[in-house]
């Protein structure tokens, strides 16, 4: 990953200095940022600092990478959790209804909706929403972010559209999973046993169908959440949402190696943590995994 970042053509020092600079300034900056060292040495130095929590200093702004990430984190967390909420609110009922009436009109409509969500590009959906709700109707601001603590109303207004776009995309994926796992749970033998016991249909459904369909749902939700937390680059750009995806993109453009490496490291950590949480949830949900 480290090597890949450095392999990207373009010279960060040149980009930082602009168009007019002397060779001395160039060399001095190169030396100061350690870019004159061999790549392997740079990596070892970076790694050594990274484990102590020092991710270096941004070439572009001169701020520490950790402070830049910390600044962007709330926006990303807000959008990720709001999106997953939207996704689950769409996916669980829609997937369940489709599974209960496979091949019915409802199922076909749900399939079309989720196929639409999966295949339509999120930036297009974002632009259409902006045109309709910010442009024509003027109900919502077209983008930006304010912290919840400063202006709750404005926070919600600005969150609504980006959360809807990413939520619909994730929700479409999750809907397909919910449908197939509920369908599978419905066909299992123990559901027949539960019916034969004389349980009411609601009880059968809650405890013998949904409860068993939970495991795949947790998996796919975890994957989607990890994806959302590592910044939804395109949507963040469309809605000028100051999240990690936007930060990473700006870092790429400026060849700001420390920031880019820091962001990538964080994304990797996010995946690890989410997978750990998902595994822990598994054992809480499924006694067969418990020890």
């Amino acid at each position: 990953m480290f090597a890949l970042v450095h392999l990207v053509p373009g010279d960060p020092v040149r980009l930082a200095l602009g168009t007019r600079f002397s060779q001395e300034t160039y060399d001095a900056l190169r030396e100061r940022s350690g870019l004159d060292q061999p790549l392997l040495e740079q990596f070892v130095t970076w790694l050594g600092r990274a484990v102590t929590g020092d991710l270096g200093v941004s070439f572009r702004s001169g701020e520490t990478v950790t402070s830049q990430i910390a600044e962007r984190l709330p926006a990303t967390l807000t959008l990720a959790f709001a999106s997953i909420l939207v996704a689950l609110v769409i996916a669980v009922p829609l997937g369940t209804i489709s599974a209960l009436r496979p091949r019915s009109v409802v199922d076909r409509v749900a399939t079309v909706i989720s196929q639409f969500g999966i295949s339509v590009p999120d930036f297009w959906m974002g632009i259409v929403l902006i045109l309709v709700f910010a442009g024509t109707l003027g109900w919502l601001p077209s983008g930006g972010y304010v912290p919840l603590t400063e202006d709750p109303g404005g926070w919600l207004q600005r969150l609504l559209m980006p959360a809807l776009v990413t939520g619909v995309v994730s929700g479409s994926v999750i809907t397909r999973f919910v449908r197939s796992s509920v369908l599978e749970a419905l066909g299992s033998d123990h559901v027949r046993t539960a019916q034969a016991k004389g349980l009411g249909s609601r009880q059968v459904f809650t405890w013998h169908v949904l409860r068993n369909a939970l495991l795949p749902l947790v998996t796919v939700t975890g994957v989607q959440l990890a994806y959302l937390l590592s910044g939804v680059v395109v949507v963040e750009i469309v809605f000028s949402w100051p999240g990690l995806g936007q930060l990473a993109l700006q870092a790429v453009e400026a060849r700001d190696y420390p920031v880019l490496q820091g962001a990538i490291l964080l994304f990797a950590l996010v995946f690890l943590v989410i997978n750990l949480v998902v595994d822990l949830l598994y054992s809480a949900i499924d006694p067969r995994i418990r020890r």
């Binding site: 033998d189 123990h190 027949r192 539960a194 016991k197 004389g198 349980l199 009880q203 013998h208």
Partner: protein, 350 residues
């Protein structure tokens, strides 16, 4: 204990919608089960055995299954019952034990919970009272350390133990009819014998009528009072165990019995074991049943030209001698007819 039958099935028909067209899975099945009586239903896979009992309790998916006929459980028709009444009947009216104990319990709920919810679905019982009852049931079915077993999950028990739990669930509301759908097929022989003993014991205690679905004729001889042989969704022969197993009338039943390995058969001169006889061919697909006798395509006899074009009716072959039934509960055994749906009662392999 005789008197009114627990279950009276009349002209039960089940049609399933399949991708290959409608399948006539059960075609006019009629039988009765008396209190304390065990009726074995035998036949190959796909003969409609399981579907015929699932249909009784409305356990077939309504989207694909059309069930017609009558099925009176203690005088009430199961097939026309409103859903809520049917729910009430499942459990106290008829309990069911399924084929595969590995999959018929919910893997994510404790044994105790699965028993308790069944008990509480049919009466205003407190959780703790239901739990006590659940432990009693587990003791009754011979599960060691029942109190502890309540908090266990299905995967912590062996197949035989799980099947005991499934039986405990089926018996938890003291049903008047117990349906065992290949309940011992997935178990090894010693466990199978234990389960059969258990059901017989519980049946003797509670006077439950039992429908025992199996393709194991050894089990039939051991447990049943009467036998119903199914083929192509039809009853092709029924009667007392002695009649059907000793004097089979239908060529299919004769073939089925002929294909049992005979351990007592003398070995050949070189010590080789006599070869097993089989019924050649496969059962007809339920989407494409033959117009005449369902067994005609595979029948080695074909004694009557009508076999090919007409379905032979279920006709009385003989009447069982008095006291021929295995169970003392049926004193009027002399009235039990031995019937077969065939014109080929003589000849063939008989």
């Amino acid at each position: 204990m005789s008197g009114d039958p627990v279950l009276e099935v009349e002209d039960l028909r089940v049609r399933l919608r399949t991708p290959r067209g409608p399948a006539e899975v059960v075609n006019g099945l009629s039988y009765t089960v008396g209190a304390g009586e065990t009726v074995a239903v035998v036949g190959e896979s796909g003969s409609g055995k399981s579907v015929s009992v699932l249909a009784l309790l409305g356990l077939l998916p309504a989207r694909v299954a059309t069930v017609t006929g009558r099925a009176l459980l203690q005088g009430e028709d199961l097939l026309t019952m409103p859903p809520e009444r049917l729910r009430q009947v499942r459990g106290p009216g008829a309990g069911m034990v399924f084929q595969d104990p590995m999959t018929s319990l919910n893997p994510v709920l404790t044994i105790g919970r699965q028993l308790v919810e069944g008990i509480r679905a049919h009466g205003d019982v407190s959780k703790s009272a239901a739990r006590t009852r659940a432990a009693e049931l587990l003791r009754e079915v011979g599960l060691p350390d029942p109190e502890k077993a309540l908090d266990r999950y299905p995967h912590e028990l062996s197949g035989g133990m799980r099947q005991r739990v499934v039986i405990a669930i089926a018996l938890s509301n003291s049903p008047s009819l117990l349906i065992a759908d290949e309940a011992t097929t997935a178990l090894d022989v010693t466990v199978q014998a234990q389960i059969i003993d258990l059901v017989e014991k519980l049946q003797a205690e509670h006077g439950t009528g039992v429908i025992w679905i199996t393709h194991d004729l050894g089990v039939v001889a051991g447990i049943a009072d009467r036998v119903l042989v199914m083929y192509g969704g039809r009853c092709v022969e029924d009667g007392t165990v002695d009649d059907v197993l000793e004097r089979p009338a239908h060529p299919y039943t004769r073939g089925l019995l002929g294909s049992l390995p005979d351990l007592a058969a003398p070995a050949g001169p070189d010590g080789e074991v006599p070869e097993l006889t089989t019924v050649p061919g496969l059962p007809p697909p339920p989407t494409d049943l033959p117009p005449g006798c369902v067994f005609w395509p595979r029948c080695p006899v074909r004694a009557d030209p009508r076999c090919e074009t007409e379905q032979p009716p279920l006709a009385v072959v003989s009447r069982a001698a008095a006291g021929a039934t295995a169970s003392g509960a049926l004193e009027e055994g002399s009235r039990l007819p031995h019937r077969a749906a065939t014109w080929c009662t003589e000849g063939g392999q008989g």
